[in-house]
Symmetry: C2
Subunit: 467 residues, 2 copies
C-alpha cells in the first residue's frame, strides 16, 4: 500500500457564528478538508447575550465550546478547528494570515467574521459606552451595572449619587429595548430593598433613539405597543434624539420639544451602546485584495450567490455580508436587502456550503433567498412583540404576555445543546418566580473596554426574527 | 414623638466569607448596627472554586450576591452592606480606612479578611503560577488550561507543543490534588478526540509536593490511597520536591533519586500554585496599630476567645486567625491549632458574634472550641478520601467511589441557596454521564494575574473537612 497525496480541496471557514457553524455542518460529509478558525473557543448564542449582561444567565448557559458542538464532525477526520485571530485575508494569494504570523492557504474561503459595534466615527465614546457583541462585553456591562448601584450606596453627594443611579441605553433596536427593559426590571424588582442608603426603585433608565420610534424595523402597530410596554416598565423613552457626546460625566444629545431644538445633558456613569454595527475589519482586507465593494457599514457587497465578483472562490456570509434576497417565484421583483439576523446567517451558511459543492461539481450556483419567518423582540418581564410570517396564512402579530412566552420558548428551542436549554429554562423559571437574577456576581477582573472603529450613522439592523 | 439619637453599638465586619457571613447572621437580631464590608459583591463557596477553574461549573453556580443572601437580614434595618476594599485598620482610633479614603469608625470590629496565596518570597513566580482564591483566579486558570491545548493544536514545533501539553500543579494539599486529578480527567476524557493535530491523552499532569506525601494533613493510610488514586488517573506525582524557580520556560525543582540530589526542569507554560497561603495584608495593619502578633504565615495570633490582647473590641476569625481550640472537657489538655477550613471559619464567626454580645452584657467571653467533624478531599472522577470523626463511635475512614459520592453530596448540601444546589447537581450529573465540562468557554478578557506577597515555606493548611 502506498500513501497517496490528499487531493481534497482545502476549505477555510472564518468565524464560528451562526453562519460558519451551519457551513461546517453542511460540508462535514463532503470530500473536502475543512479548517474552521475562530478568535474564541466557543459558539455564542448572541440573541441571549443581553441576559448575561444583565446577570440573568451565566456565560456557559448561552455558549458552548466549538470543539464540543462539532465533536461528531471532528471524528469524521476532515475538520480541523483552530482558535486563532485572522489578521488579514490575501485573496490574490488565496491565503489568510493568523495572529502569530502563520499563513494558511485555501482553495475555497467562507468568511463569516461578523460585525462589531460602530460609534459613527466617535471611537472615543467606546470606554464610556460599551457595546454588546461578545462575552467580554457582557461581563463588562454586568460589572458596570452592578457596580453603579454599589457606588451609589457608598456615595454621600446627592448629585453624584443620582448620576450613579442613571442608566442610558443608546439605540432602540431590539438589543437596546431588551437592555432598557431589563435594567428597569432590575431596579424596580431584583434590587428592591437590598440597599440601605439608596432606593433602587428611584433609578432612572433612559432609552435614547435617533429615529422617531422604537423597534423601527417592526410594523408601526408593534412599534407603538413596544413603546407602551417600555413605559409601563418605567423606561424613559426619548426618540428623535441625536447623541453628540459621551464622556465620564454622561451623555449629551440634541432633541426637540415641539419646534424648539434642545441640547440636553444626562449625567450618568453607565451607558450601553446599542446604536450601530459595522462589518468586521476583515471586510477591508477583502476590499484591498479581492477588489470587493464595501457598503456604508463596512459590509462586503456580495453577488447573488454570496461570492465575490472577481473571486468566486470567496464567499461572505452573515452580518459581514451586504446580501440581497432573490425570490425565484418572482424573478423580476426587486431583490430585497437581507437583515443582520441569525436566521439569515444560518441560511447563508447553508447556501455557501451548497454553492461550494456545486462549484466543485462544475454546476451553476444558486442565488440566496432569505426565508423570513417573522420577527420577535422582548422588552422585559411579560412584555414582547411578535410578528410572524406564516406561509399562505399571512402575518400574525401580537404583543404582551403571550408574545413574551412565545419569545421565551422560541429562544430556548434554538439554543445550542440540550443541557443549556434545560439550565436556561430552570434559571428563567426561578428568576420569574423570585425576581432574583442568579448571575449577579462580578469577578475581580479588570474591565475590558477596547472596541473597533467604524463608519457613519445608521440604525442597528439587528432585529431578532425566528428560525 | 421626638426622634432619639441611635445609641446602638456600631459593629463593623470585614469580609463576607464563611466566618463573616455567620457573624452577620448571628448578630442581625441583636441591638447593634452592623456594617458588612467586602471587596466583592458576592459570597464565594471556595471549596468548589477548583470546579470553576476546570470549567465544570459556572461562576454563578458557586457564588451568590451578598445582598441576596442577606436580603432578610437587611429588611430588619440594622445591617448595611458596602462593597469596598478596606485598605487599613486603625485599631488605636477604632476606625478603618476604605479605598476611596472614607473612614468608618466602630465600637466592635470582626476581621474575617481571609488569606491569599503565598509564593514564599518569590512573588516573581506569580505571573506564571496563579493561585486559586477568587473567581478572577479561577477564570484566569480556566483560560490558561483551555488556551494551552489550543496553542498546542496550533504548534508546529514538537518541543514547544510538549510544553503546552504539560501541566504542573505545585502543592499536594486538597486544592492541588483536586486540580491535578481534574486536569488529568480533562485530558483523558473531556478533550479526547476533539483535536486533530494533538492527542489530548498524551498531556502530562505533574503534581509537585515538598513533603514526602500527598494530602499530608490526612492519616497515612488515606494519604497513600489518595496517591494510588492519582496514579490511576494518570497524574505524575512527585513528592520531596522543592521548587526553586518558575518562569516562562517552566518549573525548576530539586528532587531526590535514591541518595542523589537532582535538579530538574519541567518545560511547561501552565502552572497552578496550590502550595502556600498567607494571611490578608490587613493582619499587618493590626500588628501596627493594635500590637497584634503575627505568625510565620502572616496570620493574627488571637486570644482563646478570638479577640486581641490589647484590643478586646477587635476579633479575628477564619483563615486570618492563628487560633487554638480549647476543650472544656479537658481543661488541662494542650490547646490544638485550628486548621484553615470553612467549618472552622463558620464556628469562629458564630463565637465572635456570641462573645461580642456577651461583652455588651458585661459577661465573660468563652474560648473557641473547634468541633472537627472530619475531613474529606476529592481527587477526581469516582475518587476521594473521607476521614469522619463520629462522636462516641470514633473515626470512619473510606476512599474510592463511595467517598466520592459522599464528598459530592456533602458539598452540594453546604452550597448556599437552593437554586445553586439544583443547578450544580444537574451540571454534575450531566458531566458524569457525558464527560463534558459545560463551562469550557473563555471570554476575550485580558488576564488578571496580580498577586500578594508573603512569608516562608509551609504546606497549604487548606484541608476541606465537613461541616
Amino acid at each position: 500500500m502506498t500513501s497517496r497525496p490528499n487531493h481534497k480541496p482545502k476549505v477555510l471557514i472564518i468565524g464560528c457564528g451562526f453562519g460558519g457553524l451551519e457551513a461546517v455542518k453542511a460540508l462535514s460529509k463532503a470530500p473536502v478538508n475543512i479548517t474552521l478558525i475562530d478568535r474564541t473557543n466557543h459558539h455564542l448564542f448572541q440573541p441571549l447575550l443581553y441576559q448575561v449582561a444583565t446577570a440573568g444567565l451565566s456565560a456557559p448557559a448561552i455558549s458552548a465550546p466549538i470543539r464540543h458542538i462539532l465533536r461528531r464532525e471532528m471524528k469524521r477526520g476532515n475538520l480541523t478547528v483552530l482558535q486563532a485571530e485572522v489578521t488579514a485575508i490575501d485573496a490574490a494569494d488565496k491565503s489568510v494570515v493568523l495572529d502569530d504570523g502563520e499563513r494558511l492557504d485555501y482553495d475555497h474561503l467562507i468568511v463569516g467574521a461578523g460585525a462589531t459595534h460602530s460609534y459613527f466615527g466617535h471611537d472615543d465614546w467606546a470606554p464610556y459606552a460599551p457595546g454588546l457583541k461578545t462575552l467580554a462585553d457582557a461581563f463588562d456591562i454586568r460589572a458596570r451595572v452592578i457596580g453603579a448601584f454599589e457606588r451609589a450606596e457608598r456615595c454621600a453627594d446627592p448629585v453624584e449619587r443620582a448620576a450613579w443611579m442613571s442608566f442610558v441605553v443608546v439605540g432602540a433596536g431590539p438589543t437596546g429595548v431588551e437592555m432598557a427593559g431589563t435594567l428597569a426590571e432590575i431596579a424596580q424588582h431584583t434590587l428592591a430593598q437590598q440597599f440601605r442608603r439608596i432606593d433602587s426603585k428611584l433609578a432612572r433608565v433612559v432609552l435614547l433613539e435617533g429615529s422617531g420610534k422604537v423597534l423601527g424595523s417592526f410594523v408601526p402597530e408593534l412599534s407603538q405597543r413596544a413603546r407602551e410596554q417600555l413605559k409601563r416598565l418605567k423606561v424613559d423613552v426619548r426618540t428623535g434624539c441625536k447623541v453628540t457626546a459621551i464622556d465620564e460625566t454622561g451623555v449629551t444629545y440634541e432633541g426637540h420639544e415641539g419646534d424648539v431644538q434642545l441640547i440636553n445633558h444626562l449625567p450618568t456613569h453607565t451607558v450601553v451602546w446599542a446604536a450601530g454595527v459595522a462589518g468586521s475589519p476583515l471586510g477591508r482586507s477583502l476590499a484591498a485584495t479581492a477588489n470587493a465593494e464595501l457598503d456604508r457599514a463596512g459590509r462586503v457587497v456580495v453577488q447573488p450567490d454570496l461570492s465575490l465578483l472577481e473571486h468566486p472562490e470567496v464567499q461572505v456570509i452573515g452580518d459581514l455580508a451586504a446580501a440581497h434576497s432573490y425570490d425565484p417565484d418572482h424573478p423580476h421583483a426587486e431583490p430585497t436587502p437581507v437583515p443582520g439576523v441569525s436566521p439569515a446567517a444560518k441560511q447563508m451558511g447553508r447556501l455557501a456550503a451548497a454553492n461550494l459543492l456545486r462549484r466543485l461539481k462544475h454546476e451553476p450556483t444558486e442565488p440566496f433567498r432569505y426565508r423570513d419567518y417573522g420577527s420577535l423582540a422582548t422588552i422585559g418581564r411579560r412584555a414582547a412583540v411578535v410578528d410572524l410570517a406564516v406561509p399562505v396564512f399571512g402575518a400574525i402579530r401580537f404583543s404582551g404576555l403571550f408574545a413574551w412566552l412565545f419569545w421565551l420558548f422560541a429562544h430556548i428551542y434554538f439554543l445550542i445543546g440540550f443541557r443549556n436549554r434545560l439550565v436556561v429554562l430552570i434559571d428563567w423559571a426561578w428568576a420569574y418566580l423570585t425576581f432574583e437574577r442568579h448571575a449577579r456576581v462580578v469577578a475581580e477582573t479588570p474591565r475590558a473596554t477596547e472596541s473597533a472603529s467604524a463608519p457613519p450613522l445608521q440604525d442597528a439592523p439587528d432585529t431578532q426574527p425566528l428560525a
